[in-house]
Symmetry: C2
Subunit: 114 residues, 2 copies
DNA sequence: TCGTTGATCAACCATTTGGTTGATTACATC
DNA sequence: GATGTAATCAACCAAATGGTTGATCAACGA
């Protein structure tokens, strides 16, 4: 994944309104007006949030007459967890390796004393 | 997870320098100077990035004399993938459900024509 | 064709952010 | 104690961000 893609995706998720939109869209597609309803901000502001999410590739939009419903893209979310997991798993692997070294040292110490 | 925590964590990841720091720390702990070395920015800027990561709970810091090494926290990363997966899995579930409905309709259509 | 509704565009404002330089703190070593 | 080094603090700057209001575009329904 390119830097720009990850920049856009993570900063898109770094806002509670946009995360709420993600949560809502995970249940079903929805239009801007439907998404705006639960928020205390203007429809224009929601429209901006949606553009950010779309630009980040997290959602897609279709045409349905006058409406332009938004759909969550699970594959984009999976790409993000994939990135995070790469480093989480590596870190966990390193910690286990360190634990192994420490217990080896401890064993050697016990052996020396016995 | 609270909104503020997620805000801090995701916006911490929304910067290529900070992601590079995460990647570096997944292999082993490192000090500010070590982390700053591969970058074309000042040590102070790196120090700021590290504070952002620490504030977000993604890394921890310890004292080793004059040095203050940074350590990646895998559990914090796991919390993020957990959040994302909640909605990714729900979206995938909904898409499968929709596919089921569509194929049922298609079957009924075939039956009617036969 | 005309009014209504979904949605975006445009301009503007306050705040945040990523970077800089220069000064300062804290620890280690001579 | 004096010097050097790891790291942060402080003040500042340019650019990006999240929000507003007002105007505009595009499609539907009478």
């Amino acid at each position: 994944m390119e830097d720009d893609t990850l920049d856009a995706a993570f900063s898109a998720l770094a806002d509670p309104a946009r995360r709420a939109i993600i949560a809502r869209l995970s249940r079903s597609s929805a239009t801007v007006n439907e998404l705006a309803e639960p928020f205390a901000i203007t429809k224009q502001a929601v429209s901006k949030h949606i553009q950010v999410l779309e630009q980040a590739g997290l959602i897609t939009r279709t045409r349905d007459g006058q409406r332009r419903p938004c759909h969550l893209d699970p594959a984009a979310l999976e790409a993000l967890t994939g990135w995070i997991d790469t480093y989480r798993l590596e870190a966990e692997r390193q910690y286990r390796r360190l634990d192994g070294v420490l217990s080896t040292l401890k064993d050697q110490h016990s052996k020396e004393r016995s």
